[in-house]
Symmetry: C2
Subunit: 187 residues, 2 copies
Protein backbone atom coordinates (compact mmCIF):
# COMPACT_ATOMS: atom_id res chain seq x y z
CA UNK A 1 0.00 0.00 0.00
CA UNK A 2 1.44 3.35 -0.97
CA UNK A 3 -0.41 6.57 -0.27
CA UNK A 4 1.10 10.01 -0.46
CA UNK A 5 2.02 9.64 3.18
CA UNK A 6 4.51 6.95 2.30
CA UNK A 7 6.70 9.41 0.40
CA UNK A 8 9.15 10.58 3.00
CA UNK A 9 11.18 13.70 2.76
CA UNK A 10 14.70 13.24 1.53
CA UNK A 11 16.97 16.17 0.81
CA UNK A 12 19.45 14.39 -1.38
CA UNK A 13 18.25 15.39 -4.83
CA UNK A 14 17.63 19.01 -5.89
CA UNK A 15 13.98 19.95 -5.96
CA UNK A 16 12.46 19.54 -9.37
CA UNK A 17 9.39 21.56 -10.14
CA UNK A 18 6.54 19.36 -11.25
CA UNK A 19 3.91 20.09 -13.84
CA UNK A 20 0.71 18.81 -12.28
CA UNK A 21 -2.61 18.51 -14.10
CA UNK A 22 -5.95 17.92 -12.34
CA UNK A 23 -8.58 17.09 -14.92
CA UNK A 24 -11.77 15.08 -15.39
CA UNK A 25 -15.47 15.68 -14.95
CA UNK A 26 -15.55 15.24 -11.20
CA UNK A 27 -15.16 17.61 -8.29
CA UNK A 28 -11.85 18.35 -6.66
CA UNK A 29 -9.69 19.67 -9.48
CA UNK A 30 -9.41 23.21 -8.15
CA UNK A 31 -9.78 22.28 -4.49
CA UNK A 32 -6.93 19.74 -4.74
CA UNK A 33 -4.77 22.50 -6.25
CA UNK A 34 -5.78 24.78 -3.38
CA UNK A 35 -4.90 22.08 -0.86
CA UNK A 36 -1.42 21.81 -2.38
CA UNK A 37 -1.17 25.60 -2.23
CA UNK A 38 -2.11 25.49 1.45
CA UNK A 39 0.58 22.88 2.14
CA UNK A 40 3.17 24.95 0.31
CA UNK A 41 2.07 28.10 2.13
CA UNK A 42 2.50 26.19 5.39
CA UNK A 43 6.12 25.62 4.35
CA UNK A 44 6.61 29.32 3.58
CA UNK A 45 6.90 28.69 -0.12
CA UNK A 46 6.01 31.51 -2.51
CA UNK A 47 2.64 30.70 -4.03
CA UNK A 48 0.28 32.29 -6.54
CA UNK A 49 -2.91 31.71 -8.49
CA UNK A 50 -3.98 32.85 -11.95
CA UNK A 51 -7.66 32.05 -12.25
CA UNK A 52 -8.75 31.85 -15.88
CA UNK A 53 -12.49 31.83 -15.39
CA UNK A 54 -14.31 34.39 -13.41
CA UNK A 55 -17.65 33.76 -11.81
CA UNK A 56 -19.62 36.13 -9.70
CA UNK A 57 -20.27 34.11 -6.57
CA UNK A 58 -18.67 30.83 -7.25
CA UNK A 59 -15.17 31.40 -5.97
CA UNK A 60 -15.87 33.78 -3.11
CA UNK A 61 -14.65 31.59 -0.23
CA UNK A 62 -11.30 30.73 -1.72
CA UNK A 63 -10.63 34.28 -2.91
CA UNK A 64 -11.24 35.68 0.56
CA UNK A 65 -9.05 32.93 2.05
CA UNK A 66 -6.31 33.68 -0.47
CA UNK A 67 -6.41 37.36 0.39
CA UNK A 68 -6.22 36.64 4.12
CA UNK A 69 -3.24 34.37 3.55
CA UNK A 70 -1.53 37.08 1.52
CA UNK A 71 -1.51 34.90 -1.58
CA UNK A 72 -1.08 36.64 -4.93
CA UNK A 73 -4.35 35.82 -6.69
CA UNK A 74 -5.16 37.11 -10.14
CA UNK A 75 -8.63 36.77 -11.59
CA UNK A 76 -8.81 36.98 -15.33
CA UNK A 77 -11.21 35.77 -17.95
CA UNK A 78 -14.97 35.88 -17.81
CA UNK A 79 -17.66 33.31 -17.28
CA UNK A 80 -17.52 32.48 -21.00
CA UNK A 81 -19.96 29.85 -22.21
CA UNK A 82 -22.47 30.59 -19.48
CA UNK A 83 -22.54 34.35 -19.80
CA UNK A 84 -20.36 35.64 -22.58
CA UNK A 85 -21.97 37.00 -25.71
CA UNK A 86 -18.75 38.17 -27.22
CA UNK A 87 -16.29 35.37 -27.92
CA UNK A 88 -13.66 37.88 -29.04
CA UNK A 89 -13.76 39.28 -25.55
CA UNK A 90 -13.46 35.77 -24.05
CA UNK A 91 -10.46 34.98 -26.23
CA UNK A 92 -8.84 38.32 -25.49
CA UNK A 93 -9.24 37.76 -21.76
CA UNK A 94 -7.74 34.28 -21.95
CA UNK A 95 -4.74 35.64 -23.85
CA UNK A 96 -4.37 38.47 -21.38
CA UNK A 97 -4.45 35.93 -18.55
CA UNK A 98 -1.78 33.86 -20.26
CA UNK A 99 0.45 36.94 -20.65
CA UNK A 100 0.10 37.63 -16.93
CA UNK A 101 0.92 33.98 -16.20
CA UNK A 102 3.95 34.11 -18.53
CA UNK A 103 5.36 37.12 -16.66
CA UNK A 104 4.88 35.38 -13.34
CA UNK A 105 6.36 32.11 -14.54
CA UNK A 106 9.42 33.57 -16.23
CA UNK A 107 10.44 35.98 -13.50
CA UNK A 108 10.80 33.20 -10.94
CA UNK A 109 8.71 34.84 -8.26
CA UNK A 110 6.88 31.67 -7.21
CA UNK A 111 7.65 28.21 -5.96
CA UNK A 112 4.11 27.04 -6.73
CA UNK A 113 1.73 28.59 -9.25
CA UNK A 114 -1.80 27.44 -10.04
CA UNK A 115 -3.20 28.12 -13.51
CA UNK A 116 -6.78 27.48 -12.52
CA UNK A 117 -9.20 26.33 -15.23
CA UNK A 118 -6.50 26.97 -17.79
CA UNK A 119 -7.35 23.83 -19.78
CA UNK A 120 -10.46 25.49 -21.22
CA UNK A 121 -8.34 28.11 -22.96
CA UNK A 122 -6.42 25.27 -24.61
CA UNK A 123 -9.37 22.99 -25.28
CA UNK A 124 -11.42 25.72 -26.94
CA UNK A 125 -8.44 26.96 -28.93
CA UNK A 126 -8.24 30.42 -27.36
CA UNK A 127 -4.56 29.62 -26.96
CA UNK A 128 -2.51 27.21 -29.04
CA UNK A 129 -1.66 24.19 -26.87
CA UNK A 130 1.65 23.48 -28.61
CA UNK A 131 2.77 27.09 -28.41
CA UNK A 132 1.94 27.16 -24.72
CA UNK A 133 3.86 23.94 -24.04
CA UNK A 134 6.85 25.06 -26.10
CA UNK A 135 6.90 28.31 -24.18
CA UNK A 136 6.74 26.47 -20.86
CA UNK A 137 9.56 24.12 -21.88
CA UNK A 138 11.72 27.14 -22.66
CA UNK A 139 10.75 29.43 -19.78
CA UNK A 140 9.44 27.55 -16.77
CA UNK A 141 12.06 27.76 -14.00
CA UNK A 142 13.20 24.19 -13.22
CA UNK A 143 12.14 24.44 -9.58
CA UNK A 144 8.67 25.92 -10.19
CA UNK A 145 5.73 23.62 -9.47
CA UNK A 146 2.98 24.44 -11.93
CA UNK A 147 -0.55 23.16 -11.27
CA UNK A 148 -3.04 23.32 -14.14
CA UNK A 149 -6.69 22.52 -13.55
CA UNK A 150 -9.81 22.05 -15.64
CA UNK A 151 -11.72 19.56 -17.73
CA UNK A 152 -10.64 18.41 -21.16
CA UNK A 153 -6.88 18.57 -20.62
CA UNK A 154 -5.45 18.22 -24.15
CA UNK A 155 -3.36 15.07 -24.79
CA UNK A 156 -0.28 17.18 -25.50
CA UNK A 157 -0.59 18.78 -22.06
CA UNK A 158 -0.89 15.35 -20.46
CA UNK A 159 2.22 14.24 -22.34
CA UNK A 160 4.11 17.27 -21.05
CA UNK A 161 2.92 16.97 -17.44
CA UNK A 162 4.70 14.99 -14.73
CA UNK A 163 1.68 14.15 -12.60
CA UNK A 164 -1.85 13.87 -13.97
CA UNK A 165 -4.89 13.01 -11.92
CA UNK A 166 -8.38 12.50 -13.22
CA UNK A 167 -11.23 13.37 -10.90
CA UNK A 168 -14.26 11.22 -11.72
CA UNK A 169 -17.75 11.75 -10.42
CA UNK A 170 -19.03 8.58 -8.80
CA UNK A 171 -22.04 10.18 -7.14
CA UNK A 172 -23.25 13.75 -7.29
CA UNK A 173 -26.09 15.20 -5.24
CA UNK A 174 -26.98 17.98 -7.69
CA UNK A 175 -27.56 15.50 -10.46
CA UNK A 176 -29.08 12.75 -8.40
CA UNK A 177 -30.97 14.46 -5.62
CA UNK A 178 -31.58 18.06 -6.61
CA UNK A 179 -29.72 19.52 -3.65
CA UNK A 180 -28.62 23.11 -4.10
CA UNK A 181 -24.95 24.15 -4.18
CA UNK A 182 -23.47 24.91 -0.78
CA UNK A 183 -21.56 28.08 0.09
CA UNK A 184 -18.12 27.26 1.47
CA UNK A 185 -18.27 23.78 0.01
CA UNK A 186 -18.88 24.32 -3.65
CA UNK A 187 -17.49 27.84 -3.87
Amino acid sequence: MATSSSHLLTNRAPARGLVIVNTGNGKGKTTAALGVLLRAWGRDMRVGVVQFLKSEHARFGEIVAGRRLGIDWIITGDGFTWTSRDMNETVARARHGWRLAQERISDGRYDVLILDEFTYALHYGWLDTHEVIDWLKAHKPPSLHLIITGRYAPPALIDYADLVTEMTEIKHPYNDQGIRAQPGIEF
Copy 2:
Protein backbone atom coordinates in the same frame (compact mmCIF):
# COMPACT_ATOMS: atom_id res chain seq x y z
CA MET B 1 -20.79 22.39 -19.98
CA ALA B 2 -21.31 22.50 -16.24
CA THR B 3 -18.40 22.99 -13.87
CA SER B 4 -18.69 23.83 -10.21
CA SER B 5 -18.61 27.48 -11.22
CA SER B 6 -22.01 27.13 -12.83
CA HIS B 7 -23.66 26.42 -9.49
CA LEU B 8 -24.78 29.83 -8.32
CA LEU B 9 -25.64 30.70 -4.79
CA THR B 10 -29.29 30.64 -3.99
CA ASN B 11 -30.59 31.13 -0.49
CA ARG B 12 -33.99 29.57 -0.94
CA ALA B 13 -33.42 26.14 0.56
CA PRO B 14 -31.91 25.54 4.01
CA ALA B 15 -28.30 24.41 3.92
CA ARG B 16 -27.99 20.68 3.97
CA GLY B 17 -24.75 19.21 5.18
CA LEU B 18 -23.25 16.90 2.63
CA VAL B 19 -21.35 13.70 3.20
CA ILE B 20 -18.48 13.88 0.74
CA VAL B 21 -16.10 11.03 -0.02
CA ASN B 22 -12.81 11.45 -1.90
CA THR B 23 -11.43 8.05 -2.78
CA GLY B 24 -9.38 6.23 -5.43
CA ASN B 25 -5.71 5.47 -5.99
CA GLY B 26 -4.74 8.88 -7.33
CA LYS B 27 -3.51 12.06 -5.72
CA GLY B 28 -5.78 14.78 -4.50
CA LYS B 29 -8.05 13.07 -2.00
CA THR B 30 -6.74 14.91 1.03
CA THR B 31 -5.72 18.07 -0.82
CA ALA B 32 -9.20 18.44 -2.33
CA ALA B 33 -10.63 18.16 1.19
CA LEU B 34 -8.15 20.81 2.35
CA GLY B 35 -9.16 23.07 -0.54
CA VAL B 36 -12.80 22.78 0.54
CA LEU B 37 -11.70 23.55 4.10
CA LEU B 38 -9.88 26.65 2.85
CA ARG B 39 -12.99 27.82 1.00
CA ALA B 40 -15.12 27.30 4.08
CA TRP B 41 -12.55 29.06 6.27
CA GLY B 42 -12.69 31.97 3.82
CA ARG B 43 -16.41 32.13 4.54
CA ASP B 44 -15.84 32.12 8.31
CA MET B 45 -17.34 28.69 8.69
CA ARG B 46 -16.25 26.55 11.64
CA VAL B 47 -13.90 23.89 10.33
CA GLY B 48 -11.92 21.01 11.77
CA VAL B 49 -9.80 18.00 10.83
CA VAL B 50 -9.41 14.60 12.42
CA GLN B 51 -6.44 12.95 10.74
CA PHE B 52 -6.53 9.18 11.13
CA LEU B 53 -3.03 8.37 9.95
CA LYS B 54 0.02 9.98 11.36
CA SER B 55 3.25 10.24 9.44
CA GLU B 56 6.40 11.87 10.61
CA HIS B 57 7.15 14.29 7.81
CA ALA B 58 4.41 13.71 5.35
CA ARG B 59 1.82 16.18 6.55
CA PHE B 60 4.03 18.94 7.87
CA GLY B 61 3.01 21.71 5.46
CA GLU B 62 -0.71 21.35 5.95
CA ILE B 63 -0.46 20.96 9.71
CA VAL B 64 1.52 24.19 10.02
CA ALA B 65 -0.95 25.92 7.70
CA GLY B 66 -3.86 24.61 9.76
CA ARG B 67 -2.28 25.89 12.95
CA ARG B 68 -1.66 29.33 11.44
CA LEU B 69 -5.26 29.48 10.29
CA GLY B 70 -6.46 28.55 13.76
CA ILE B 71 -8.06 25.37 12.49
CA ASP B 72 -8.78 22.64 15.03
CA TRP B 73 -6.60 19.79 13.81
CA ILE B 74 -6.39 16.47 15.61
CA ILE B 75 -3.79 13.91 14.69
CA THR B 76 -4.59 10.40 15.74
CA GLY B 77 -3.56 6.97 14.61
CA ASP B 78 -0.12 5.85 13.59
CA GLY B 79 1.56 5.07 10.30
CA PHE B 80 0.11 1.53 10.48
CA THR B 81 1.05 -0.77 7.63
CA TRP B 82 4.32 1.02 6.96
CA THR B 83 5.62 1.22 10.48
CA SER B 84 3.36 -0.44 13.00
CA ARG B 85 4.40 -3.69 14.55
CA ASP B 86 1.49 -3.84 16.91
CA MET B 87 -1.87 -4.07 15.19
CA ASN B 88 -3.68 -3.87 18.52
CA GLU B 89 -2.14 -0.44 18.95
CA THR B 90 -3.20 0.56 15.43
CA VAL B 91 -6.75 -0.57 16.03
CA ALA B 92 -6.87 1.13 19.43
CA ARG B 93 -5.68 4.40 17.89
CA ALA B 94 -8.25 4.24 15.12
CA ARG B 95 -11.01 3.65 17.68
CA HIS B 96 -9.73 6.50 19.83
CA GLY B 97 -9.74 8.74 16.73
CA TRP B 98 -13.31 7.76 15.98
CA ARG B 99 -14.37 8.58 19.55
CA LEU B 100 -12.81 12.03 19.19
CA ALA B 101 -14.58 12.45 15.86
CA GLN B 102 -17.89 11.34 17.38
CA GLU B 103 -17.63 13.97 20.12
CA ARG B 104 -16.88 16.67 17.56
CA ILE B 105 -19.67 15.58 15.24
CA SER B 106 -22.37 15.22 17.86
CA ASP B 107 -21.71 18.48 19.72
CA GLY B 108 -22.29 20.57 16.60
CA ARG B 109 -19.11 22.60 16.89
CA TYR B 110 -18.26 22.51 13.19
CA ASP B 111 -19.79 23.45 9.87
CA VAL B 112 -17.21 21.35 8.00
CA LEU B 113 -15.25 18.42 9.39
CA ILE B 114 -12.68 16.33 7.54
CA LEU B 115 -12.15 12.73 8.60
CA ASP B 116 -8.87 12.35 6.78
CA GLU B 117 -7.83 8.84 5.71
CA PHE B 118 -10.75 7.46 7.65
CA THR B 119 -11.59 4.89 4.98
CA TYR B 120 -8.63 2.72 6.02
CA ALA B 121 -10.12 2.20 9.46
CA LEU B 122 -13.27 0.91 7.75
CA HIS B 123 -11.57 -1.04 4.99
CA TYR B 124 -9.26 -2.88 7.37
CA GLY B 125 -12.06 -3.54 9.82
CA TRP B 126 -10.64 -1.53 12.72
CA LEU B 127 -14.10 -0.02 12.88
CA ASP B 128 -17.35 -1.61 11.72
CA THR B 129 -18.54 0.27 8.65
CA HIS B 130 -22.24 -0.31 9.30
CA GLU B 131 -21.97 0.76 12.93
CA VAL B 132 -20.17 3.92 11.86
CA ILE B 133 -22.81 4.75 9.26
CA ASP B 134 -25.69 3.98 11.61
CA TRP B 135 -24.09 6.27 14.19
CA LEU B 136 -23.66 9.05 11.61
CA LYS B 137 -27.27 8.70 10.48
CA ALA B 138 -28.39 9.13 14.07
CA HIS B 139 -25.96 11.81 15.23
CA LYS B 140 -24.59 13.91 12.37
CA PRO B 141 -26.12 17.39 12.64
CA PRO B 142 -28.14 18.01 9.44
CA SER B 143 -26.11 21.06 8.50
CA LEU B 144 -22.65 19.53 9.05
CA HIS B 145 -20.59 18.88 5.93
CA LEU B 146 -18.50 15.77 6.52
CA ILE B 147 -15.60 15.01 4.20
CA ILE B 148 -14.10 11.53 4.34
CA THR B 149 -10.91 10.72 2.46
CA GLY B 150 -8.83 7.66 1.65
CA ARG B 151 -8.54 4.70 -0.67
CA TYR B 152 -10.86 1.72 -0.62
CA ALA B 153 -14.04 3.53 0.45
CA PRO B 154 -16.41 0.68 1.36
CA PRO B 155 -19.54 0.34 -0.82
CA ALA B 156 -21.80 1.03 2.18
CA LEU B 157 -20.02 4.35 2.74
CA ILE B 158 -20.47 5.26 -0.92
CA ASP B 159 -24.16 4.39 -0.63
CA TYR B 160 -24.47 6.66 2.40
CA ALA B 161 -22.51 9.57 0.89
CA ASP B 162 -24.05 12.41 -1.12
CA LEU B 163 -21.02 13.25 -3.25
CA VAL B 164 -18.32 10.75 -4.15
CA THR B 165 -15.30 11.51 -6.29
CA GLU B 166 -12.70 9.03 -7.40
CA MET B 167 -9.18 10.34 -7.95
CA THR B 168 -7.42 8.24 -10.57
CA GLU B 169 -3.75 8.36 -11.35
CA ILE B 170 -3.21 8.99 -15.06
CA LYS B 171 0.49 9.73 -14.81
CA HIS B 172 2.77 9.71 -11.80
CA PRO B 173 6.37 10.89 -11.71
CA TYR B 174 7.45 8.67 -8.80
CA ASN B 175 6.37 5.57 -10.61
CA ASP B 176 7.36 6.59 -14.09
CA GLN B 177 10.38 8.79 -13.70
CA GLY B 178 11.91 8.16 -10.29
CA ILE B 179 11.50 11.75 -9.11
CA ARG B 180 11.60 12.19 -5.36
CA ALA B 181 8.62 13.49 -3.38
CA GLN B 182 8.52 17.27 -3.06
CA PRO B 183 8.09 19.16 0.20
CA GLY B 184 5.12 21.51 0.06
CA ILE B 185 3.66 19.60 -2.86
CA GLU B 186 3.37 16.06 -1.66
CA PHE B 187 3.26 16.85 2.03
